[in-house]
C-alpha cells in the first residue's frame, strides 16, 4: 500500500461522487424524510414513564441503518462499474496495489456515510428532540463504522454480480436479514435460540447493540467498545475477502 496512491484514489472516488449532485442530494435528504415519517408515526403514542419513547428507540437505530444500506448499494454499483467498464483491469496494470483501491473506497464512502449520519443526527437531535444518555459523537462514529462495514461487504459482493440488476439483488440478501435480526423488531434475547445464533454472527447486531449502549449510558461502556471492535473486525475481514476477489490476471 502506498499512502500517496491511497490518497489520490480516495480523492478520485469522492470527486466522482461530487459530480453526481443528485446522488449527493438523495444521500442527505432521504434519511431526513424517513426520520420525519417515523417521528409523526409515533408522535401521538405516549411514552410510558421510565421508558425510552418509541421514536427515540427506533430513530437511534435508524441513524445506524441509513449509512449501512445506502453505502452497501452505492459501493456495489461503483465497484461493478469498475469491473464492467474496464477501469479495474486498467488500474491493476498500474502501480496501484489492491489495498489502495479497497481502502480508498472504504475511506471515501466511509466519509460520505459519516456526513450522512451527521446530517441525519443533527436533524434527529435538534428538530425531533432525540434523547440519548451518551453523546451524539458516538452515534455518528458507530454510523460511520457501519458505512465502512457496508462498503467492505459491497466490495466483496460485487464480485459475484455480472450486472447492475444482480448487484442490487444482493441488498435484500445481505442487508435485510441483518435488519430483521438486529434486535430492533424483537429484542435479541427474546428470539428463538436458532435465530439468536444467526443474529450473533451478523455484524449489524453488534452495531445496533453499541448504539443502544450509547442511548442508555452517559459514558461509553465496555460493551459498546467491544461491539465497535467486532464491527471493525468484520469490516476488515470483508475487505480481506474482497481483496481475494481482485485478480490481476483473468481468463
Amino acid at each position: 500500500m502506498n499512502p500517496r496512491i491511497l490518497a489520490v484514489t480516495t480523492g478520485r472516488i469522492l470527486r466522482q461522487l461530487r459530480h453526481d449532485r443528485r446522488t449527493v442530494a438523495l444521500l442527505l435528504v432521504v434519511p431526513a424524510l424517513l426520520l420525519t415519517l417515523v417521528y409523526y408515526m409515533y408522535a401521538d403514542q405516549p411514552a410510558r414513564s421510565g421508558e425510552v419513547s418509541t421514536f427515540d428507540r427506533i430513530a437511534l437505530v435508524m441513524l445506524g441503518f441509513f449509512p449501512f444500506i445506502v453505502m452497501f448499494l452505492v459501493t456495489s454499483i461503483a465497484m461493478l462499474r469498475e469491473r464492467t467498464t474496464g477501469t479495474l483491469e486498467r488500474l491493476l496494470t498500474t502501480p496501484l496495489a489492491k489495498a489502495d483501491l479497497l481502502f480508498g473506497y472504504g475511506i471515501a464512502f466511509g466519509l460520505a456515510g459519516a456526513v450522512q449520519a451527521a446530517v441525519a443526527s443533527a436533524l434527529a437531535y435538534w428538530l425531533f428532540d432525540l434523547d440519548t444518555a451518551g453523546g451524539s459523537g458516538f452515534v455518528i462514529m458507530i454510523a460511520a463504522l457501519n458505512a465502512v462495514l457496508a462498503v467492505a461487504l459491497g466490495l466483496f459482493c460485487s464480485a459475484f454480480a455480472r450486472t447492475e440488476f444482480q448487484a442490487v439483488q444482493f441488498m435484500p440478501v445481505v442487508v435485510a436479514p441483518q435488519l430483521l435480526l438486529c434486535g430492533l423488531f424483537v429484542p435479541r434475547d427474546e428470539m428463538a435460540g436458532w435465530l439468536q445464533a444467526i443474529s450473533d454472527v451478523l455484524p449489524l447486531s453488534y452495531a445496533v447493540e453499541a448504539l443502544q449502549e450509547v442511548g442508555a449510558h452517559a459514558e461509553p461502556t465496555g460493551t459498546m467498545w467491544r461491539d465497535v471492535a467486532v464491527v471493525a473486525g468484520a469490516a476488515v475481514l470483508a475487505l480481506v475477502l474482497a481483496a481475494a476477489t481482485l485478480r490481476r490476471r483473468s481468463g
Binding site: 478520485r12 466522482q16 474496464g86 488500474l91 496494470t93 498500474t94 502501480p95 490476471r249
Partner: protein, 250 residues
C-alpha cells in the same frame, strides 16, 4: 539491447477454445509494431498477455527483460484497452490527473498528455458527455501519461477523423524515435503501412512478422492488403509462396 517483447510458444486457452496457438515473435525496442488481423483473431488476447493480465496456458512472454505482469513492469508499461476505460463521471483532466498520479507524475504531465491527443479544448468536460472518438482519446491520454517504456494500444484510432489519425500516428513515431516501443493493434490496412514492423495474426496463429516492405516483397505485390491475402492463402495451403515472411522470419 534486449528486445522489448519476446514471446516463446505462447498458448492461451479461453474455456475449451484455444485462442493463441503457440505464438513466437520478438519486437525490438524503439519501434512502432503493428498487430494486424481480423476481428476475433486473438489480437486483444495477445496484447493482454503482453501486459500481463491474461492467464497464459503455455510458453513465455518476456517484456522489457522481465516476465510479463511482473510488479515492476506496472510503472513501465502503458495499456489502452479496446473499450475506453476511463471514468465517465470525471472530466478528461480529472481522469488524466488520476492516472498521472498513479504513476507518480504531476499535473503538467497530465495536461501535456491531454494536449497530445488533441483534447485540450475538452479538458474540463465530463468524459460521459464526449463523443465516442473523444472518449477513446481520453483513454489514450491516460495510457500515455505515465511515460511508459512500452505502450500497448488496442485499436487506438477507431472512430477518429483522418486528420487526427495522422496526428496520432506521427505522435506514435515521435515516441518511438525517443526509444519508446509501441505495440498497436488495428484492422485497417492503411495503418499497417505506417508501422515499422508488422505482426499479422489469423485464427490465433502468426502468419507474418516482418517490416511492411519485406511483407510486400515476400508476397510479390505492392499492396499490403493484397499481400496479406496471399500470405493467408499460402498459410492455409501450407505451400510457400511467402516462405520468407512466415513464422519467425525477420
Amino acid at each position: 539491447m534486449e528486445d522489448a517483447i519476446v514471446l516463446r510458444d505462447l498458448v492461451v486457452d479461453r474455456g475449451r477454445r484455444r485462442v493463441l496457438h503457440g505464438i513466437s515473435c520478438a519486437v525490438p525496442r524503439g519501434v512502432v509494431a503493428g498487430l494486424l488481423g481480423p476481428s476475433g483473431s486473438g489480437k486483444t488476447t495477445l496484447m493482454r498477455a503482453v501486459v500481463g493480465v491474461q492467464v497464459v496456458g503455455g510458453g513465455t512472454a518476456t517484456v522489457l527483460g522481465r516476465p510479463a505482469g511482473s510488479a515492476d513492469l506496472r510503472r513501465r508499461v502503458g495499456y489502452l484497452t479496446q473499450a475506453p476505460s476511463v471514468y465517465a463521471d470525471l472530466t478528461v483532466r480529472e481522469n488524466a490527473r488520476y492516472f498521472a498520479a498513479l504513476h507518480g507524475r504531476g499535473r503538467a504531465d497530465a495536461d501535456r498528455a491531454i494536449a497530445d491527443v488533441g483534447l485540450g479544448a475538452a479538458a474540463g468536460q465530463l468524459v460521459g458527455t464526449l463523443s465516442g472518438g473523444q472518449r477513446s482519446r481520453a483513454s489514450l491520454a491516460c495510457a500515455l501519461v505515465g511515460e511508459p517504456e512500452l505502450i500497448v494500444l488496442d485499436e487506438p484510432t477507431v472512430g477518429q477523423d483522418p486528420v487526427l489519425r495522422a496526428e496520432l500516428w506521427s505522435r506514435f513515431h515521435e515516441l518511438a524515435a525517443s526509444g519508446v516501443t509501441l505495440l498497436v493493434s488495428s484492422h485497417v490496412m492503411d495503418e499497417a503501412a505506417r508501422c515499422d514492423r508488422l505482426l499479422l495474426i489469423r485464427e490465433g496463429r502468426l502468419i507474418a512478422d516482418d517490416t511492411p516492405d519485406a511483407v510486400r516483397a515476400a508476397a510479390g505485390v505492392s499492396d499490403l492488403d493484397e499481400a496479406f491475402l496471399r500470405l493467408i492463402r499460402a498459410s492455409e495451403t501450407g505451400a510457400g509462396v511467402a516462405a520468407g515472411a512466415g513464422g519467425e522470419a525477420s
